[in-house]
Subunit: 139 residues, 2 copies
DNA sequence: CTCACTGCAAAGAATTTGCACTGAA
DNA sequence: TTCAGTGCAAATTCTTTGCAGTGAG
């Protein structure tokens, strides 16, 4: 339950809505869009509103408790974040999102690009897509 | 002018609107959002409409003449694409976008992630952000 | 001459804001 | 008790669709 302490320490209140959003995301395992969070959250908290979800996601994202993931089509979903800078690989069949850590290979790549382009890189957006083990089974 | 031939070969017409959108993007060098393309395009083609820009971008993106780039905040812009699968590095100061090719390092990274996660990767979204050479000068 | 393409208006989504009420601390 | 947080309604964007007129081939 350490995220609750993190919230409190940062001066924010631990409310039912925030608990529900976190619980829904923790249970889901796949990236959810705001309206999907609403549907699932309503089961747990009748009066939950979409506006609150937007505001909650903005807060949780700012605190790095939740991460926003992109899709090529421009839609984005939200997933629970692990501590540290990580990236996601998303199954295009079932939507399952798995985090993986950045390794030396990313740094090597960034260094190469810095040399090739003359840029100084200070942020990166990396997301992979493919088939998860379970969906590969079904082929 | 080879993009015009590509359009024609694919059975699409080379119209003024499409020429204007391409020219604006080629001139810009930085990723532009639809409404920015409209503003600049109007200078060249008075009656240009936003709807046409959306439709044109969808077409050009499908033909891989233009690429969509993402920002963490969810906004996205469009830039001229070079042939082949490339990635972008975007200057957070001036917005300048530069393409760079994927090298062995990306394949190595993907292979590592496949081994670690069991996924079979078939697509990736990689975008870097930082300071371009010109903006670094000004520091 | 035809039909793909365009612009406009209007519909639909996605997201944000204003405001009075509610509940966590 | 107090003020951050909430829900609702309405305002903003952002993007897509329907349709009649226009122009590329």
């Amino acid at each position: 339950m350490e995220w609750e302490q993190l919230l409190a320490q940062a001066g924010f209140r631990v409310t039912t809505s925030r608990r529900v959003v976190m619980q829904v995301l923790q249970t889901a395992g796949v990236p959810l869009e705001p309206h999907e969070i609403l549907e699932r959250g309503r089961c747990l908290h009748r009066s939950l509103g979409l506006v609150t979800i937007y505001r909650t996601l903005a807060l949780l994202t700012a605190l790095d408790l939740v991460r926003r993931v992109h899709r090529q089509d421009g839609c984005h979903g939200y997933v629970i974040a692990s501590p540290g800078h990580r990236h996601h690989i998303i199954c295009r069949q079932c939507g399952q999102a798995t985090e993986f850590p950045g390794g030396d290979d990313i740094h090597a790549l960034i260094e190469r690009v810095e040399n090739e382009t003359g840029y100084r890189v200070d942020d990166h957006l990396l997301q992979l897509a493919g088939l998860c083990p379970a969906c590969r089974e079904l082929r």
